[in-house]
């Protein structure tokens, strides 16, 4: 028995150590390539741009995944339609700003609110009455995502579209170093993600509603027994989670593009972010989003030439390493 425990302990340490070694190696490799150490030719401006790309993409991932993890943490609902809500939000805003019918920021807010309502309806109609049956709820949201994805094609077309950035933010900004031109809107997304992160953190840590959410995450039955109307809390949380997906969709539609298949892409990124970070943890979502954003962007540039189309394997490797060390993710709890 003790031998067995010793063995699992050693195995765990080994996995952790190995992960650390790999991490150090990856950072060293990127640094060597970026700064041109040991006689190689470096490219610092490229490194800065790629790092910024990673950061801004991480911001977008964080916005989308924080909604996913919020819903999961409180209700144990894996919302498989999260990617569809993302895409629908983007498309709605795209339609609204088409022909400049509406101001960008108004459209952003309206689309996100509309998606929040869609999520709320989804929860009230389909999920509320089978609480606790998490597999069944996941299957229901999968069915809804299939229907949504298929219905979006006739309304919004099958080719990629992108939302025009608002006036003044469409161009690029000159950074102080190396005369780098960087798209302004990506920086705006990063700023918004930071704001949303702070708002969520403050809301959850320092408001009464956040306190109730935290209590609900820890012990749903007890919270309910203390006189909190848990159903209202669930409804509001689902609304916020879907709202964030819709918001992410508008920002992503401006920063990248909207197309059928983007729903799957953002469902995957949300899944990876919360699996890596730990499901239900906001801090975990932040760390997971940063990890995924950097892996996505850096692997496209810094993998040895000829191997860059294997970059998706690094995402998988990220998943493997984290789960090998901590089966519940970095900040996850059982």
């Amino acid at each position: 028995m003790t031998l067995r425990r010793l063995r699992t302990e050693i195995a765990r340490r080994l996995a952790g150590g190995l992960a650390l070694v790999v991490l150090v190696f990856v950072i060293a490799w990127v640094m060597v390539r970026a700064f041109g150490l040991f006689g190689t030719t470096g490219n610092l401006p490229q490194f800065i741009v790629v790092t910024l790309n990673g950061l801004t993409l991480a911001g977008l991932y964080f916005i989308v995944a924080s909604g996913f993890t919020l819903i999961f943490g409180l209700m144990r609902v894996v919302n498989m339609a999260h990617g569809s809500l993302y895409l629908l939000g983007g498309y709605l805003a795209w339609r609204m700003v088409q022909h400049r019918a509406l101001n960008y920021w108004v459209a952003l807010l309206l689309a996100a609110l509309a998606i929040g309502v869609v999520g709320l309806v989804m929860q009230q109609v389909f999920l509320r009455w089978n609480q606790g049956q998490d597999l069944r709820q996941a299957l229901i949201t999968i069915a809804l995502s299939v229907i949504l994805a298929d219905q979006m094609i006739p309304y919004f077309g099958a080719s990629a579209v992108s939302i025009g950035a608002p006036d003044g933010l469409a161009g690029s900004v000159r950074l102080a170093v190396y005369d780098i031109q960087y798209p302004t809107f990506r920086l705006v997304v990063l700023g918004l993600a930071t704001l949303i992160g702070i708002a969520l953190w403050y809301g959850i840590r320092h408001t009464r509603f956040g306190m109730i959410i935290r209590a609900g995450v820890d012990d749903r039955a007890m919270t309910s027994a203390l006189g909190v109307n848990v159903q209202v809390v669930f409804a509001v949380t689902f609304f916020i989670g879907a709202f964030l997906a819709g918001l992410g969709g508008v920002l992503g539609g401006t920063m990248i593009a909207l197309a059928p298949g983007q729903d799957a892409a953002f469902l995957l990124s949300s899944l990876v972010v919360v699996i890596v970070g730990g499901m239900g943890s906001l801090g975990g979502a932040l760390v997971g989003a940063l990890a995924l954003g950097f892996v996505d962007q850096l692997s496209g540039i810094y993998l040895p030439a000829g191997y860059t189309n294997y970059s998706i394997l690094l995402t998988f490797a990220l998943l493997v390493f984290v789960l090998a060390m901590r089966p519940t993710g970095l900040f996850g709890r059982r």
Partner: protein, 336 residues
């Protein structure tokens, strides 16, 4: 009188089952080549793939979304070896099964330490990553995929004469059905059942729960890989579109429509799916919406799927017919 009606019902059921089996056996003779091919072969192959989901769910309580990716790996390996390297189809098929099992060991080892909804999410992530892998890597034809895969000469040309392909798929289906039924009666099967119902207690009893889960996952991958080999032989090509998220969900839909708890459900669901897929374009061009609605209806109304509905219908009729005859026995039989 009542006894007569009850045994009459049982007899009727047996006769109906025998009739259905006879029709299944004679599909290439009874139906046109089109039906035998696009409904018969497809339903059997998809049924095998769905059977791997149902096996994992009913034996170990794990719902896996990685099965499409696993059959994709088998299909890609078969295609790559046969078309690009010129290997004999049978050898390619066996290598494909081997490769899939090895990949499944990796997937399973990662996912097996989590359970329930976590397992679902991790397998889904593995599946989507596999899709991106095959759509990006040029060695596997990226978006094009691999074309002109030929089945072994023994099976003939699927689109001209599906007979050979049909019987190959049928034999594989039967073998897999019997294999799974047998496996559940072995000590391994009982250990899996223990893991499904009481993982904590099983660990306390000294069983290696993650190892058992991984082994079950590998068995599931073996089943899925056979579906993959048959699929690539039948379609004569494989592309990332055949293993994307939509197809993953389609396969889950088949398993859920058929019934996640009953093995027969896999082929029943696959038959219904292929019939809808083949004949719905005449009425609507939104096939996925239709499938999604059926899926939603089944999940909302009857989580047991069609196999579950059939079973409770049978129980209902038996109770109505035999109620006064041996009510105590039936009543005790209904106890959970």
């Amino acid at each position: 009188m009542r006894i007569g009606r009850l045994s009459g019902w049982l007899l009727l059921k047996r006769a109906a089952l025998a009739g259905v089996l006879l029709v299944i056996l004679l599909v290439p003779q009874l139906f046109s080549a089109f039906v035998a091919s696009s409904i018969g072969v497809q339903a059997l192959v998809l049924g095998i793939a769905a059977a791997s989901i149902i096996f994992l769910n009913s034996a170990v309580g794990m719902v896996s979304l990685a099965q499409t990716a696993l059959y994709g790996i088998a299909a890609y390996t078969t295609a790559k070896l046969a078309v690009v390297q010129g290997v004999d189809p049978w050898v390619a098929a066996m290598a494909a099964v081997g490769v899939t099992v090895v990949v499944a060991l990796l997937f399973g080892a990662i996912a097996s330490r989590s359970e329930g909804i976590y397992f679902l999410m991790i397998t889904l992530a593995s599946a989507v990553i596999t899709y991106y892998f095959f759509s990006q890597v040029t060695a596997f034809g990226s978006h094009e995929g691999i074309n002109a895969v030929e089945p072994p000469r023994l099976l003939g040309k699927p689109f001209v004469d599906p007979t050979g392909m049909y019987y190959a798929a049928l034999i594989c289906s039967v073998i897999i059905y019997v294999l799974i039924r047998y496996l559940r009666r072995t000590p391994f099967g009982y250990a899996l059942q223990g893991v499904r119902d009481e993982p904590v207690r099983m660990r306390a009893l000294g069983f290696n729960v993650p190892l058992l889960r991984t082994s079950a996952f590998v068995v599931g991958a073996f089943i899925a890989s056979i579906a993959g080999v048959l699929l690539v032989w039948y379609n004569s090509n494989i592309s990332p579109g055949a293993i994307d998220l939509t197809r993953t969900i389609d396969l889950l839909t088949i398993a859920v429509i058929g019934g996640l708890g009953r093995l027969e459900g896999a082929w029943i669901g696959a038959l219904l799916f292929t019939v809808v897929q083949t004949y719905s374009p005449a009425y609507t061009d939104r096939f996925e919406t239709l499938i999604g609605l059926i899926f939603l209806a089944v999940v909302l109304a009857s989580p047991g799927g069609i196999a579950g509905i059939a079973r409770s219908l049978d129980r209902f009729i038996r109770r109505r017919l035999g109620e006064s005859v041996d009510a105590p026995a039936l009543a005790s039989g209904r106890q959970p």
